[in-house]
Symmetry: C2
Subunit: 322 residues, 2 copies
Amino acid sequence: MAKAITLLESTRTDHRAQADELLTALLPHTGRALRLGISGVPGVGKSTFIEALGLYLIREQGLKVAVLAIDPSSTVSGGSILGDKTRMEQLSNEQDAYIRPSPSGGTLGGVAEKTREAMLVCEAAGYDVVIVETVGVGQSEIAVHGMTDMFCVLQLPNAGDDLQAIKKGVMELADLVVINKADIDPHAAIRAQAQITSSLRLLAMHGNPDHDWKAGLVWRPKVITLSALKGEGVDEFWAVVSEFRSMQTGNGRLAARRERQALAWMWERIDFGLKQAFRQHPEVRALLPQLQQDVAAGRIAPSTAARSLLAAQTGPAQAAAN
Amino acid sequence: MAKAITLLESTRTDHRAQADELLTALLPHTGRALRLGISGVPGVGKSTFIEALGLYLIREQGLKVAVLAIDPSSTVSGGSILGDKTRMEQLSNEQDAYIRPSPSGGTLGGVAEKTREAMLVCEAAGYDVVIVETVGVGQSEIAVHGMTDMFCVLQLPNAGDDLQAIKKGVMELADLVVINKADIDPHAAIRAQAQITSSLRLLAMHGNPDHDWKAGLVWRPKVITLSALKGEGVDEFWAVVSEFRSMQTGNGRLAARRERQALAWMWERIDFGLKQAFRQHPEVRALLPQLQQDVAAGRIAPSTAARSLLAAQTGPAQAAAN
């Protein structure tokens, strides 16, 4: 399994053709796992929660659990949220657990693509639950939401925090909000639960296609409290996840979500490929620095510069058609 | 002026070359106007406000005022927020006012591009203030923010409304929030002012490069109340706008903002052109329907499909390099 993931993560051209063959061969054996996204800012207790959840799923539910991560900061620092082997020590010693740190290097899009492909390998290898973890940095939550069946946001029992999540557009993506560390101040946790529930209701006014506050047959985002450190509430969390999975499978939303995600992933990679080919084109590289200066200085209109650069890439024959 | 704008809005290929020449010739005469973005949901009183502001600027300040609009719904309905000639009747009768409805048809990106180019024509024609209006629909606020020096959000004195604006990421773009219709319930207006001010402070924690809540030399978003219908507060609004302009000119942020906007506009048009050329490529058009079905059905990995399509566009020679 590690070999397959390493092949998929390789940037060598000859490896890529093999990797595509591997993916196509694996694909019929994927899709049966539950893909669970877990997001939350540093300090919210994600590792403790994922370890408690993973141990519960393996020991109490008899499931196999894979944990992947997307950490855009690992691109910069070389470090990773899951690089530290002392994290989730108990879980990593379980035979039915597989833990893989965030791929490092490259763009968030590249990191996300490698994680998506690793998820398919885990599924083909028979893991029942694939947890994709991310820190609350940049666009990483959106990437994780875009590859999972259910997206959970961990929050501290601190009423101000939810505004940041709303601002970043993360809260409206949440299928489930988990207020962790509820044991420290149970009253604050209950206040935060009420406030976030009311925010979610307002946010739902403009539609997330996976949610519906009016119809009874579609999921309404929930807010629960728990204490991962004390192991309290993990069973309730799993009950809510199971309820979500059952409802969204029954009403067809889970299949629709995966279809949207697959097509969005394809187009994202196409966009990336188009931009990369454009920036690497010799004519574009020759013209770009001067045109960028001219645009910044107001000597040439941005639309005119864009047309010149597009014409440079396609060559004189096609330029007339633009 | 109307002829120039019509030429810029033409989609004919031979017109486009002339339009580029015209833009390049106009460019040295642009940039002296204040570009003011006004956003707000239907019913907030935008037309009344813009008419009151326009009349004030012409009659009290001796300025020439142009009003442009971006209305993505006009693409669908063929109608437009400024299509109705009875709107802003007094302002449209002023010699020093120019009012142009939203271009209709095409994508929001296309509509925004035409409006940006019309703005340059207005500036070259000597208008001192160019107001770009938009309804609170889709991504249009972001487009207007991306082409103006100062972005103002109109709100009703209704405390719940700001959450929608925060959710859509509009509130954090606001340089100035205007609570209109304050005469109806002055107490509610003052409460809304306090609440939005506190939200803006929290939102400012992650940086909008044009704002700074710590440093004294950079703009802090303000919240004011007024009644456009009664004409109360328009002078105060203009005083705040003038203060903004003077501060952001002095500290260099206005010039930096325009530079960022011009480069972002160029890249946006390049992205659009790349996608359009891709979708129109005969090989891509031949392969796309089947590959999309295969990806949606889980028969082929999205990354594999993306690579196949990119290879189809570039041809077999370059495909090996991907």
